[in-house]
Every structure is written in structure tokens, then in C-alpha cells.
């Protein structure tokens, strides 16, 4: 078998294993909700919309499935996968078990951008919350990148630590700005609304968000997957990676920018959903070990399924009310992670 064929075979086999699981998760996401809908109904709607089958379906049900639940499940999946992969990449690159997609100041910047638009009235109401969040995220990331560069990251042995420290400084600064804006001009309702958004919210998700989130998640995944072997080489630090032939600076730049951009877009669509990017990578590592060629697909799949499931729970756990998804991810995630942590420790002995 030629090298290219072997690669294609690997990819095809992976897709065959992952796609049914993903499809099942998305199907569950569209079926389960305040009104439960039968799977054949969901499939009929899909047949109508995608293939023009013209099957008889109640237009209300069709609207719920096609305009609300399906885009919501797809975005949750894309977002979960992207955050988990970003977490895997940053933990490996920065050699820090506590690194998550927000470590470069992205979530703090996004919240500042969001409150600047919604509360401080930046742009006079012409700008959307996502626009503000996205630009805030980029601004904060730019600040962190420049600070890390000025502090001597890149090349030097302590580069990873400098990036993490710059990220912490940036996050603190932008969190303080957010708090300042809220304290200065928000009323109680606005403050509550913003808090809800900060914990993650998929309620406003529609098809245009799908067309942004899904291709971006796939593109981000491909860039990161392409660098899997390079990430393995970082196991013993960046010097060791360099001595194994990895162009360390370039790989760091490409991967940090790719993860920052993906995360910034995801945050601007759904708010800063915590926990997924931090914990899913660790959970996936417990499942398949630290080798990135297996770890990355498993993390992406776990992240996607986990966030779709968390979204379902957030919609049904309190009748008539939707919980912020970040609350659910932490409430389910923390105990299950504790179990994995303890189990992993036992098998290691």
C-alpha cells in the first residue's frame, strides 16, 4: 500500500468510526427537548429539507427541528470538538496541564468586547454582541501575544512559561475591564444577561452560525491533526522538539494562532463555555494515552458528544427554563472527571 493510500485509509477508517457516533449525538440533540420528537419525524424533516422528499410533517415540528434544534446541536458539536482540540494543542505546546483554550486571554477579551457593545453602548447599537466578543477576543489575544514576545518567549527555554504568564496577565486585565464596565453602567438585568452569556448560551444559534462554526472546526482540526507528530515531539520540551527536527517557532505560531482564532469565533457565537477545553483533553488522554495521532480525534469526538449532551441536559433539567450550558458542563464534567482521575491513578499502579 502506498503512503498516500495508507493515509487515506487511516482517515477513512477514523471517519467510519466517528461519524455514526456524531450522527447519533446530533439526532439525540434534535429529538430530545421540552417536547420530545420521534426519530422518524426528525428523519422525515431531514428528507424533506435535504432531498425535497415532500413527506407530510407538522410545520411546527418541522420548524422546531430544522430552525432550532438541528443548528443548535451542530454548533454544540462543532464548538465542543474545537474547544477540546484547542485544549489538547495548548496543553502539549505550553507543557501545562492547566492550559485551556482561554489561557491566552480569549474568554476575558470576549467578555470585555461583549459588555463594551451591550452595556457601554459601543457602536451605538449597530454592532452585535458576537461582533464585540470576537473583536474583544482578538484584542486580548494580541495583547497577550505582544506581551509574551516582549517577555522573551520564542526560542528561549522558558518560552512556554512566559506565554502562560502573559495569558494570565492579559486575562486579569480584561476581566477587570469587564467588571469596570459592568459596575459603572450596567443595571441588574443587564448584569444578569451578561452573566448568562458568559456561562455559555446556545439559544440564539441559527443556520448562519452553523456555516461559520462547522467549517471552522473542521479546518482547525485539520491544521492541528497535521501537526500531531510535531506535538508528540514537544513531550520533553521545546529544545527536545527542535533537536527532533521540529521548526519550533513556526509550529508554535501556526498552532497558537489557529487555536486562538477558532476559539475566538466559538466564544463569539456561544459565549465562553468553560471546562470542555480543559477537561476533555485530560479525559481523552486517560482513554487513549498521550500520542496525539489518536488523542486528537478522540478528544474532538468526546468534546462534540459531551457538549451536545450538555446542551440537551441544559434544556430539559429544569422544565420551562434553559440553564447556561457552562453550568451543566461543569456540574456533569467535574464529578465524571474526578472518577476518571481516581480510576486512572489506580490502573497506573
Amino acid at each position: 500500500m502506498s503512503a498516500a493510500a495508507a493515509l487515506a485509509w487511516q482517515g477513512a477508517r477514523g471517519a467510519c468510526l466517528a461519524l455514526p457516533v456524531l450522527a447519533a449525538a446530533v439526532l439525540a440533540g434534535t429529538m430530545i427537548g421540552e417536547t420530545s420528537l420521534a426519530p422518524d419525524l426528525v428523519l422525515s424533516v431531514l428528507a424533506n429539507k435535504l432531498a425535497g422528499a415532500g413527506l407530510p410533517v407538522d410545520p411546527v415540528d418541522q420548524g422546531i427541528i430544522w430552525s432550532y434544534r438541528l443548528p443548535r446541536a451542530l454548533v454544540a458539536g462543532a464548538c465542543g470538538a474545537a474547544l477540546a482540540v484547542a485544549g489538547v494543542v495548548l496543553q502539549a505546546l505550553l507543557r501545562n496541564a492547566l492550559a485551556d483554550p482561554y489561557i491566552l486571554g480569549i474568554s476575558a477579551g470576549a467578555s470585555t468586547g461583549a459588555v463594551a457593545v451591550t452595556i457601554a453602548g459601543l457602536g451605538g447599537g449597530a454592532l452585535s454582541l458576537s461582533f464585540g466578543a470576537f473583536n474583544g477576543a482578538l484584542l486580548a489575544f494580541g495583547f497577550v501575544a505582544i506581551l509574551a514576545r516582549a517577555a522573551g518567549a520564542g526560542g528561549s527555554r522558558a518560552a512556554a512559561a512566559q506565554i502562560v504568564l502573559a495569558g494570565i496577565a492579559g486575562s486579569q486585565l480584561f476581566n477587570a475591564l469587564t467588571a469596570f464596565i459592568i459596575a459603572k453602567s450596567a443595571n441588574a438585568d443587564q448584569a444578569r444577561g451578561i452573566m448568562f452569556w458568559l456561562m455559555g448560551n446556545l439559544s440564539g444559534v441559527r443556520w448562519p452560525d452553523v456555516w461559520l462554526a462547522v467549517p471552522l472546526a473542521i479546518a482547525g482540526w485539520m491544521i492541528c491533526r497535521f501537526h500531531a507528530r510535531a506535538l508528540d515531539a514537544f513531550t520533553f520540551g521545546s529544545d527536545s522538539a527542535a533537536s527532533l527536527g521540529i521548526p519550533v517557532r513556526r509550529v508554535q505560531l501556526v498552532l497558537i494562532f489557529a487555536t486562538a482564532l477558532t476559539t475566538a469565533v466559538m466564544v463569539s457565537i456561544v459565549g465562553s463555555i468553560g471546562f470542555v477545553g480543559l477537561v476533555i483533553p485530560h479525559a481523552a488522554r486517560f482513554l487513549v494515552g498521550p500520542g496525539h495521532r489518536r488523542l486528537m480525534p478522540v478528544a474532538a469526538l468526546t468534546g462534540a458528544v459531551f457538549l451536545i449532551a450538555a446542551d440537551i441536559v441544559s434544556r430539559i433539567i429544569i422544565p420551562g427554563q434553559v440553564l447556561p450550558i457552562g453550568v451543566v458542563t461543569a456540574l456533569i464534567g467535574a464529578p465524571s472527571f474526578a472518577v476518571i482521575l481516581v480510576r486512572g491513578q489506580r490502573t497506573a499502579r
Binding site: 529544545d239 527536545s240 533537536s243 527532533l244 527536527g245 521548526p247 494515552g289 498521550p290 497506573a348
Partner: protein, 253 residues
Amino acid sequence: MKIEARSLSFSVRGKTLLQDVSLAVQPGETLALVGPNGSGKSTLMRLLSGLAKPSQGDVLLADQPLARLTRREIAQRIAIVEQQADTAERITARSVVELGRTPWLSALKPWSGEDTQHVDKALRTVEMEEFAPREWSTLSGGERQRLHIARALAQRPGLLLLDEPTNHLDIHHQLSILNCIRNLKVTTVVALHDLNQALTCDRVAVLSHGRLVALGAPAQALAPETVSEFFGIKARWARDAAGDAPFLSFQLA
């Protein structure tokens, strides 16, 4: 593979760590690098491996400037074992050695049976085959060191740079690793603390305060006068009852 340093200097933040060092290592030769703590051994290693760029001077690898090679091309020619490379990842011993194949792999050239053979051979060389499935965190310092050496061997380098490879090793493994290094066909530069071990290499270079102060055949470069002067002790040749080769004996000056 021949490597040559041409008047290398290296300074960081105004402090000169290495000054005007020139030396050449011939193909197949094993050069021992000795010197007191902070004499610039590790710095010279990093410059020779291209991990750091010299402030002045050039490194030539097989008569080609190192600066003109890409990281990957360098890694296909030079392998380095640095001191104290550690990880918190739950990686197996075998995967550590497999990392050595990184410079030879790409998207279009995935892992093959040949790579497996190189890994097996490297594990055998350092006597670590039985440890292959063990997790990194369960290994002793010496076992980890041997894996790093195996990783470097799996790179199939033409030049091997070892920064104090016998640190953390018990005497049996010190001797067996050194023996293994000397018998390798690759050119080797090895930084050592044990001067009597340096005596067994082909040639010895002595560094002191960032300068090359002696270079030549072991008995000549490590003459007791030289050793006494640069290490601040009193050295003399000694022989034991059974031995034929003299060794160095030390006491405080």
C-alpha cells in the same frame, strides 16, 4: 560525519559563556569534553547541535555551514541528549524511543517496519527491551537516561552529542553506556565529569571559563598539570597492583 567549530563565541545578556572555541571532530571519532562546572560544556553542545546560534563564528557539519540547514535536515544528521529532559506525560518507554524517528517521518512517509527495526535496535543497545511497555513515571533516573540515549540512537545520526550521559547511572551502566558509545561508528562528542572515563575516549577537549585550554590525545590533554591547574585540585597518575593503564588520582590542593 565530521563537525567543525570555527572560533565560536556565545554570550547572553552581556555575559560571555564561550569565547573563541575552535575544534574539529573527525568522522567516527569520540571526543570527550571535560571542564569544571560552568566552563561552557553544555553551551558548546547547544551550539554544535544548532539549538543555539553562536554570537560569533560558525559550525560546519561535513564542511557545510550548520546555519544553512533546516531543523529537520539537522535532526537527520545530529542527535543530542541533553541533561534532565523530563515529562509529566504518561508516555511509555517505547514511545520515547519512537520520538527519535520524528525527523524521518512526514505526512507522506508514515511509520514503517524499518522505523520499528531502528527502535528495537536502539532499545537493545541500551539494554532496555524489557522496559519497553513501562510508563515513564515508573522508571528510575538511570533508566530514563538510557531511554534518551536510545531515542538519540533511533534518530540514526551521523553525529551524536551527549551531555553528561552517565549522570544518574550506576557503575555497571556507566561502563556499558560508555563502551557502547565508543563502539558506535558515529562521530560522538560527549561531555563527561569523570576524567578517568574521558581517558578512554579517542581525544579530549578541556574547557575552562568558556575557553578551550587543551585538546589532544587523552593522556596529553589530561596531563596531571593541566588537570590540577584548571580544576583547582592536585592530580597525579596512579597505577593499581593489577592494572596496566595508569589512571588519575585526585586530592584537594
